[in-house]
Amino acid sequence: MENSSKKKRIKLTSDVKQIILIVAAFTIMILVFSIGSEYFLKKDNIITILISAVPLGLIAIGECACLVTGVFDMSPGMVASLAGVIWATLITQFGMNTWLAFAIALFFGLFSGAIAGVSTAWFMMPAWMSTYALMQIWRGVIMIITGGKAINMSAYPEFKVLGQTKITNSITLPILLLIIIYVIVYFVFKYTKFGRSLFIVGGNIEAAKNAGLPVKSIQFFCFVLSGGMAALGGLVFASRSASANPIIGELYAMQAISATVVGGTKMGGGKANIAMTFIGVLIMVGMQNGLNMIRLPAFYQYIASGLILFIAVMLQTSRQN
């Protein structure tokens, strides 16, 4: 009894410790860059960071859901790109109504997630492998449609509504959208049967099966969520930049995984904190922005984001041992 209550105290502090660690890393990053560049903490730059955090933030939600159930989704970057390309192409080539095209592009994301979900839940394919294959397929489709060139959409004002509408002087619609979605997802994770089921499947899939949970549909909808979030992220990005960029998704999958892991989501499943995932996203985007601010060449950003992921994973596994 005494022994077990001692154990609990240690466990509790390790959860708190993790949050402290993440927030500390975030604070240090802010400190370092604000010393390195006087513009880093300017209001305009903070808004810039928030805006560029939107696509990654949305994609990270889906990735977080996947990681909670114990699988990786490697496809969201290309799903995001292709969603943007589909949206733009349907408008420019087929003269389709902007919002109908938007709905079709979003549906594509859900469809892609459904393929990943079926392959994982029913065909028992390793998720990181099937989604990696899916990513390559979408990459090919993007290149066939665009020929590798961005589709300029600046002539279509309706296209820009989603990404460029201003709520206040500085806050734009995407930022508001991101915050609302994070609040909803926080609620879904904590208070709904689906949210809890994700954690149970990731916590112990055999126990979940024996407990009568519909494990396969949970895995399926988890990927559908991821596909949908990825598409939405890509659409917001396309609208904001008024172009459908074929290569913007190259890094999103890795960055989303990084942000999620940096945010303390347990690899192997069962544990996550969606608020910390948001901090993880801000760390990834802030790092990129800060390195630009202190005028380090873009190539260093690869090294930085690689190092962050490496250290985050190392901290997590060393804590488990």
Binding site: E206, G212, L213
Partner: protein, 515 residues
């Protein structure tokens, strides 16, 4: 035959968490002798074998080989002393040839360090020629995956025989997955090896085999040495009576049979699945605890997993409360009021890194949802507290992680989880495995309490005293079939265990071994 002692184990102790697996066990094996090791489930025969062959390390005691003390720390070091084992679970790389499988990790090489295929095949053929006629049809260049189980076992044996200094070859339940013909040729092979002076340790609970090939037999019981007998001077009845009478008695209050109602809650008819179990039928009444006993490999766990639809079955009809039902997966079983406490509670029953609250509400989230399908966290907390108090789980609170609980308390959480989910029929598989002696009593009391409240319990157990101490009725399985269905009134261990050996007894009597 030379009667020189090759392997001598003296005063071996070995403990696992919560159980003393071996207590001061000694054993001597002579050259050219086939030495049988017998005992009930958990008697320690496999543990002793694993210590001799380096798979486990002993806590204390000494091992002597040819009169000199040996320091066996690993399978490799045991092999250096000439001690080899043919494990129960045969390990074969299916995509490699027979010869490669034999020389796994010790392939002969050329001067350049490349594998010398010619030499490997010819060495493998040499080993094969030393084996009996049954081995001669084996082509050392065939792919192992295409061959039969008997051939795989032959590969395991040849792996041992490439050691020219082989002294001891141990077999752990070698016939459990062999056909009768294959078993027959194995016995011929063992006879050949015996005449070549190899000492054989033969672990089996098939008494017929012990009598047909062993020279000497040692019986273990509860991790302790009972006796060693010459096979010509003993009978199967004597061996069985040496195996039973295990000295544990801590079953708390005796089970009150008056709670048993006539209503049949579960009726299984003719459940079959491949070679795992055939034509298994049983009934479970309201308020009844039925113990399902059998030796390891009798197909009990496979059957109950088929019952709960956790694994597929070939055929069989299930009636719940006299309604025919067709259950396709655990989810449907669960909806019909069946709960399954698996034998691996850590792997299949609990989320170790989640709170007790989450673990308890897992199969019954519907209970803590409001009408908008939102989880009521306060209600869930109350639900968890109720589950914890149901069996008096010793914990610092519902937020404690399951990993921090003792084995007994973990098991109580799993039981509680199902009871809270309103299951009327509980299937519990080895409910006290790996649990401290003291905590076992609490699990037994929990089971009895549930039966008293009108639940029906089907308990699989390998522990005979446990089966006798808790069950109202005992069903015995042997080699995939039900061989006994006994009301537990004044039953002794002997009454039950003879059904677990049942088929062998018949043949023993026919062949005259029984007397």
């Amino acid at each position: 035959m030379d009667s020189q002692i090759i392997l001598e184990m003296k005063h071996i102790d070995k403990a696992f968490p919560g159980v003393q697996a071996l207590n001061d066990v000694s054993l001597s094996i002579k050259k050219g002798e086939v030495h049988g090791l017998c005992g009930e489930n958990g008697a320690g025969k496999s543990t002793l074998l694993k210590i001799a062959t380096g798979l486990y390390s002993k806590d204390s005691g000494n091992i002597f080989i040819d009169g000199e003390e040996a320091d066996i720390r690993s399978v490799e070091s045991a092999r250096k002393y000439g001690i080899h084992v043919v494990p129960q679970e045969i390990q074969i790389l299916r995509d490699l040839t027979v010869a490669e499988n034999i020389f796994l990790g010790s392939q002969p090489t050329t001067k350049l360090g490349l594998i010398d295929w010619e030499k490997m095949f010819s060495l493998a053929n040499n080993v094969k020629q030393g084996l009996g006629r049954h081995a001669q049809s084996l082509n050392v260049k065939s792919k192992a995956g295409d061959l039969s189980m008997g051939s795989w076992q032959l590969i395991e044996i040849m792996r041992a025989l490439i050691d020219e200094n082989i002294k001891v070859l141990a077999f752990d339940e070698p016939t459990s997955s062999l056909s009768d013909d294959e078993a027959e040729s194995l016995f011929e092979l063992i006879n050949d090896l015996r005449s070549q002076g190899v000492a054989i340790i033969y672990v089996s609970h098939r008494l017929k085999e012990i009598f047909s090939i062993c020279d000497v037999v040692t019986v273990l019981k509860d991790g302790e040495y009972v006796d060693t007998k010459k096979i010509s001077e003993t009978t199967s009845d004597e061996l069985v009576s040496m195996m039973i009478g295990r000295g544990i008695n801590f079953f708390g209050e005796p089970k009150d049979r008056s709670y048993i109602k006539d209503e049949i809650m579960l009726k299984a008819e003719n459940f079959s699945c491949g070679h795992h179990y055939q034509d298994v039928s049983l009934e479970l009444r309201k308020g009844e605890i039925v113990g399902l006993y059998g030796l390891v490999g009798a197909g009990r766990t496979e059957f109950v997993r088929g019952l709960f639809a956790a694994d597929k079955k070939d055929s069989g009809t299930l009636y719940l409360k006299n309604q025919k039902v067709n259950i396709r997966d655990p989810r449907e079983a669960n909806k019909l009021g069946m709960g399954f406490v698996t034998e691996n509670r850590r792997e299949e029953g609990l989320m170790l890194n989640a709170s007790l609250t989450w673990n308890l509400s897992m199969p019954n989230l519907a209970e803590v949802l409001n009408k908008f399908d939102i989880l009521m966290l306060n209600k869930e907390k109350a639900y968890a507290d109720q589950g914890i108090s149901l069996f008096d789980v010793k914990t610092s609170g519902r937020e404690m992680l399951a990993v921090g609980l003792s084995g007994g308390n973990q098991q109580k959480v799993v039981l509680s989880k199902w009871v809270m989910a309103n299951c009327d029929i509980l299937i519990v598989d080895e409910p006290t495995r790996g649990i401290d002696v003291g905590a076992k009593v609490e699990v037994y009391d929990a089971l009895k309490k549930l039966a008293k409240e009108g639940k029906s319990i089907l308990m699989v157990s390998s522990e005979l005293p446990e089966i006798l101490g808790v069950s109202d009725r005992i069903i015995v399985m042997c080699e995939g079939r039900v061989t006994g269905n006994l009301e537990n009134i004044d039953l002794t261990e002997e009454d039950v265990i003879k059904y677990a050996f049942d088929t062998h007894f018949d043949t023993l009597e026919e062949s005259g071994y029984g007397e």
